[in-house]
């Protein structure tokens, strides 16, 4: 289970670092935090290619949910820009 532990620790570290960095930069938009966290999650999950097929299937479903959330945030931002608000 060491590979699982490594994966969870790397996700926690990446999420923590991104949130801390954005907080230091004074970012106030929750969408930006969410989008960057989801991106980090997807990249790290993709890097762990050696997971067994069952783990990959399970993580793909979580990734799909997060990607849907990511798309919602992006579409809302695009609509906001296009409508000029």
């Amino acid at each position: 289970m060491r590979i699982y532990n490594k994966y969870i620790v790397s996700l926690a570290l990446a999420g923590g670092s991104i949130n801390t960095l954005l907080a230091f930069l004074g970012q106030k938009d929750l969408g930006v935090y969410f989008v960057l966290n989801v991106l980090a999650y997807l990249v790290i999950t993709l890097l762990y290619v050696y997971f067994n097929p069952r783990a990959r299937r399970a993580l793909s479903s979580v990734s799909a949910v997060l990607f849907a959330g990511f798309m919602v945030v992006v579409v809302l931002k695009v609509v906001e820009i296009l409508s000029g608000r």
Binding site: Y33, V49, N52, A58, L66
Partner: protein, 325 residues
């Protein structure tokens, strides 16, 4: 006269006069089997008669067994729920995150803290997803099964006094199932038989009548089925397959590097958690890690492979494989 099961020629005596294959007489065993079948059917009939006589008692017993099974299943389910650390961690993180999101957003009014709480929920969901992928059988049980198999094979090798290094064969040379051959005598220049080697325990693998071997299934033979695609004959593809099996599926090493040069393959396994020991089984068939590497390499190159050297130093296992032609 009897037909040899190995070469199909008519022969007599304890060994085939053409291929030297040992001839096993089947009659006594068949007779014993027939006897045991008769006994079993008689016992069944008796049990059925007894059950008919005491129908009510049988119903009550059946109900008790059913109830006990349901209770045991419930207990196992509860045990799994509690004993899986990833599930506990995941549920804890999800709960904490769900409580913390509205508190940090509406009461504390902090966007970074809300983002942190969302990250915690994501991490919790990941842990729950991973919890469901843990093996059904505990690692201790798997180790027990493996040790039993290894000790049985070791006993067979020791009894026969076989010390020769095993040759790992690709599935195409066997009956679609990769196995290792332990030759009865050492031979550097093997003239391989053209047809597939039969799926038996004692097999003839060379054109020479003395080229007899014991065919055994090793840890590596079984692991081939776990690969999603068969690796190609390059060192990069072999390395990817070995890393996938050792790191992702079995979790017994951190990484692997493979160098392929002509008839030699150098493999370095770092963070290996199963080392070489100087015991009869390992001397003959190699350690389980070496066996897995040899079986994968043999399948990738479609050639027989022998484990030439195996050593462990400074947290790294070094395995040298010899590609036979």
């Amino acid at each position: 006269m009897i037909t040899c099961p190995n070469c199909g020629q008519k022969t007599s005596g304890d060994h085939c006069q053409w291929c030297n294959y040992p001839i096993l007489r089947g009659r006594p065993v068949e007779r014993q089997e027939a006897g045991s079948v008769r006994k079993a059917s008689r016992a069944k009939k008796q049990a059925r008669n007894e059950a008919g006589q005491s129908g009510k008692t049988g119903d009550a017993e059946r109900q008790t067994v059913k109830n006990a099974r349901i209770v045991a299943q419930k207990k196992t389910k509860q045990g799994n729920m509690v004993s899986n650390p990833y599930r506990i961690l995941g549920l804890g993180l999800c709960l904490a995150g769900t409580i913390f999101v509205p508190v940090s957003y509406f009461i504390i009014n902090s966007v970074p803290l809300t983002a942190a709480a969302i990250s915690v929920i994501t991490l919790g969901l990941t842990c729950i997803a991973l919890a469901n992928t843990r093996p059904y059988i505990s690692p201790e049980t798997c180790q027990l099964m493996l040790k039993t198999g290894m000790e049985n094979t070791a006993a067979l090798l020791e009894e026969l006094g076989l010390k020769n290094k095993a040759i790992y064969l690709p599935s195409t040379m066997r009956d679609g199932h990769p196995q290792a051959l332990v030759p009865l005598r050492e031979d550097e220049d093997i003239q391989w038989v053209k047809e597939k080697i039969p799926g038996r325990l004692i097999v003839r693998f060379g054109l020479n009548p003395d080229d007899m071997a014991i065919a055994v299934t090793t840890a590596g033979s079984i692991n081939i089925d776990m690969l999603e695609t068969k690796p190609g004959p390059t060192s990069a593809e072999i390395e990817a397959a070995v890393t996938y099996i050792l790191t992702g599926v079995l979790d017994i090493a951190n990484s692997a590097s493979v160098k392929l040069t002509d008839a030699r393959i150098d493999v370095e396994i770092s963070g290996s958690r199963w080392h070489y020991e100087d015991v009869w089984y390992y001397r003959c068939l190699g350690s389980p890690i070496a066996s897995i590497v040899a079986a994968i390499s043999s399948e990738a190159l479609q050639k027989p492979i022998r484990i030439k050297e195996e050593s462990y130093s400074k947290g790294k296992s070094k395995i040298v494989l010899e590609v036979l032609s």
